[in-house]
């Protein structure tokens, strides 16, 4: 049996350092409470060396030079805890969520997958570092010993079975009573007895200790000896991938926002990669500054002050046709999306969530024709959409209607699935590889070029048939109609408001230099003549 414990010292500080890694070398204090009653909640090692301790007021620590202080962020702590769980889950399916800063995992059987126990412990520490957390990792034969070792010993520790008492002996007894009130009372007693470390506690006679301190004392002694036995309580954390940043000052420009989004996306992608997942949907939620909300809502109407005080939220959802896991691609897509749809007010909070999906298989078919890479294609489509507009780019789908222009645009996806390749395409691809050219079709269609919007024309009729046409929009389209075929009458949707009815004619018009073939339409509802397109 082997258990590993991941412990993040000064967890509130580490959660903040994930977003501001530049502060790692400085003294940092995390404050909690409402101004002006803010007190120090946690400090890092540098600040501790400078004499800053939890419980001090903000006024007291302001005198310390070179000390940075930040407000505690519950959101970022939750994200850091989720990242810690992801880190543990990437090594073992049996994970106990012991505390926000402590995770225990069962390593039974994992040596076959990940190598020897010291190697696993080192890999866990590296993975945690990739997720932005500096963690202590300890491996021991029982969970409690692993937790004590991780809390007390820096870096990576592997305690062989039977050596627990020896390796834990130098640790202070205070480690055993973290947060338990009853144990704290007992520790006072032990302190009075001169018991300072776990070796002293382990050396006490069992019966005498039991007579004086009861079962609690015996339990603490077993912990000190590394002899406790308990069952791991595994959790199955939900697959929620969210990251958030609360900003000290509102952001007004997209460039610094992109910098923060890059950090969030890197962390999200690391977490997804740790769980061997990708994402197909990114949800961005921005909380906007309230003063701008007042300006935008405030229309001089005094009846709406309450609504004006509420913070406005700005949502954008990025849906991808394929599962992707590339933070740079995501960042570029978000940047293009935000350029096209700016929030309109300063940003005070950023919340980014990814919907996890299984990654697409990397293997593609041998006979697949060339197609764009999905990441590049998404970026290209986003850039094209920024040039021509979102609704003007994509593949099209013909609707089941006879209404003119009965189609709609949809997202374009290149075909990447081998199974979706049809047999004719495969045979064509094989023929192509053999150097054969496919035969041209015999059924070539006379194509129509559509005028969008249709051009209004003046038409002269003779016995109900058009004989002369004049188009003010296209000066060259003016002349005698040499030939006309029609009318083809069609109508539809008469039971709705958007009903339509029309007559279509195919005409040949004598123009200055040539003969033009056109489709002429008469709208039967309003009587207008329209030139819908030209045959080409």
């Amino acid at each position: 049996m082997a258990f590993a414990c991941i412990f993040v010292p000064d967890f509130p500080v580490e959660a903040l350092l994930r977003t501001e890694p530049g502060l790692r070398s400085q003294s940092l204090a995390v404050l909690e409470g409402k101004p002006p009653l803010q007190k120090v909640f946690a400090v890092n090692e540098n600040a501790r060396c400078a004499g800053v301790t939890p419980g001090m007021t903000k006024l007291q620590i302001e005198a310390c030079s070179g000390l940075a202080f930040r407000t505690r962020s519950v959101l970022q702590e939750a994200a850091a805890h989720a990242a810690l769980l992801d880190c543990a889950q990437s090594f073992s399916p049996r994970v106990e969520d012991a505390a926000p800063d402590t995770i225990v995992l069962d390593l039974l059987g994992m040596e076959l997958l990940f190598g020897a126990l010291p190697e696993i412990a080192r890999n866990i520490a590296h993975r945690a570092l990739d997720l932005g957390l500096t963690a202590n990792v300890a491996v021991a034969a029982n969970p409690d010993t692993a937790v004590i070792a991780a809390c007390g010993l820096r870096g990576v520790t592997v305690i062989p079975e039977g050596k627990e008492s020896e390796r834990l002996g130098n640790l202070p007894v205070e480690l055993l009573a973290a947060g338990v009130h009853e144990s704290e009372q007992l520790l006072e007693t032990l302190h009075r007895w001169g018991i300072r470390n776990l070796r002293d506690l382990a050396a006490l006679p069992d019966v005498a200790l039991s007579e004086r301190t009861g079962q609690r004392g015996v339990y603490l002694q077993k912990l000190a000896r590394g002899e406790t036995v308990r069952t791991l309580v595994p959790v199955d954390p939900p697959l929620v991938f969210e990251e958030a940043i609360e900003l000290e000052y509102p952001l007004t420009l997209l460039e610094p926002l992109a910098f923060l989004l890059s950090q969030l996306l890197d962390r999200l992608c690391s977490r997804l990669a740790a769980r061997a997942l990708a994402t197909q949907e990114l949800r961005l939620e921005l909380e906007l500054a309230s003063e701008y909300q007042e300006e935008s809502v405030g229309t001089g109407d005094p009846a709406r002050p309450v609504r004006a005080q509420a913070r406005q939220r700005f949502h954008r959802t990025l849906r991808l046709p394929l599962p992707l896991l590339d933070s740079k691609t995501f960042l570029k897509l978000l940047q293009l999306d935000l350029k096209a749809h700016p929030p309109g007010a300063p940003i005070v909070k950023i919340h980014l969530a990814a919907e996890p999906v299984r990654p697409r298989p990397g293997q593609s078919g041998l006979f697949l024709p060339p197609s764009p890479e999905p990441e590049k294609l998404e970026l290209t489509l986003a850039r094209i959409a920024a040039i021509v507009g979102e609704e003007k780019v994509g593949s099209l789908e013909i609707l089941d209607t006879h209404r003119p222009q009965g189609f709609r645009m949809q997202r374009f996806t290149a075909n990447h699935s081998f199974s979706s390749v049809s047999e004719p395409a495969l045979s064509a691809a094989e023929g192509y590889l053999r150097g054969e050219l496919t035969d041209g079709s015999d059924d070539l269609v006379t194509a129509l070029r559509i005028f969008r919007p249709p051009a209004a024309v003046t038409v002269t009729l003779c016995e109900g048939r058009p004989t002369f046409i004049s188009c003010p929009r296209q000066k060259e389209t003016r002349g005698e109609i040499l030939w006309a075929a029609g009318p083809w009458r069609s109508s539809g949707d008469w039971w709705e408001q958007e009903g339509w009815a029309r007559d279509e004619w195919d005409i040949a018009v004598q123009e200055e230099t040539s003969i033009g073939l056109y489709r002429l339409v008469r709208d039967l509802l309003d009587g207008r003549w329209l030139l819908e397109g030209t045959y080409d």
């Binding site: 697949l368 129509l448 040499l482 075929a485 073939l517 080409d536």
Partner: protein, 293 residues
């Protein structure tokens, strides 16, 4: 540092005539023996440009005429209105999409008709349609300010749709992976189309070189000039051009009789692909109307 002599030292002392009398083969042998020049091919031994891979255009007559469309090259089709350019475009598009290649249509005038394209057997799932005839989307003020700092190479005397089309084509070609990219400049006025800088066509041609992409451009008159690997001119055949003096015959034509059997003639104006016969040749194909009756 000792250098390897190109000629033997005794040759230097000999009269010039005796050095010249060395056969070229011996000189090449000595050149090849030199370590630094071992991999250099002399200019006299350079081979001709490799023949590009050809792909079917979807029209048997044009395939017979040109051998297909060159991959990694620019094919330009020019012709006046109602000459059959778009019919040829649909045939090329249908052939490429049926091969399940990713295709892109940069529609400068937003003139693409999905109904006739569907009847021409174009597979829309493989086709990216970019409709350029639109007002550019509103941009953020920061972006606008940033853009103003740099000179816009596209902001010249062309209209917004052509500018957009050039930008979009650039993005598509740089992205790569498309088997066919079509720029439809068929409705763009000739004077506007000719304002497209030659550097743009060179850039496009350079971007698709050594790739499997076919760049297919439809215009009213040749624009890409020397960048086009294949330049085709299409025109309506005699049936349509002979209508005018035969009005009495014309009046008696039935519905769609004119459009059915619409004959299109194609002529090669320029081709970099070696073929036989080498001189200009023509081919004709017939299209059918989508209507019955």
């Amino acid at each position: 540092m000792s250098s390897i002599p190109l000629f033997p030292t005794e040759a230097v002392r000999r009269p010039v005539a005796s050095v010249v009398s060395n056969s070229p083969a011996r000189v090449f042998e000595r050149l090849a023996a030199l370590p630094k020049l071992a991999e250099v091919t002399p200019a006299s031994r350079l081979t001709v440009r490799p023949t590009p891979e050809m792909v079917s255009s979807g029209v048997r007559e044009i395939d017979a005429l040109t051998g297909g469309l060159p991959r990694g090259g620019l094919t330009e089709v020019c012709g006046p209105v109602s000459s059959g350019r778009t019919s040829l475009l649909l045939a090329v598009l249908a052939a490429a999409t049926q091969r399940q290649e990713a295709c892109a249509l940069v529609d400068v005038s937003d003139a693409f008709d999905p109904v006739t394209a569907a009847l021409a057997a174009v597979n829309f799932e493989s086709m990216l349609w970019v409709r350029c005839k639109t007002n550019p989307p509103q941009r953020h003020r920061d972006t606008e300010k940033t853009n103003q700092k740099h000179e816009d190479p596209y902001r010249c005397r062309m209209g917004p749709p052509v500018e957009q089309a050039l930008r979009v084509t650039d993005l598509l070609l740089q992205s790569g992976g498309f088997g066919l990219v079509i720029i439809d400049l068929g409705d763009v006025a000739l004077k506007v189309a000719r304002r497209i800088p030659l550097t743009s066509w060179f850039r496009f041609q350079r971007a698709i070189e050594h790739t499997p992409t076919v760049l297919f451009v439809v215009t009213q008159a040749p624009c890409a000039q020397t960048c086009a690997a294949l330049l085709l001119k299409v025109k309506a055949a005699k049936k349509l051009s002979a209508l005018s003096p035969q009005l009495s015959v014309l009046k008696t034509l039935s519905h769609a009789e004119l459009l059915d059997g619409f004959r299109v003639e194609t002529e090669i104006l320029r081709s970099r692909i070696p073929r036989k016969p080498a001189q200009s040749a023509t081919a004709a194909f017939v299209t059918k109307t989508v209507r019955a009756g």
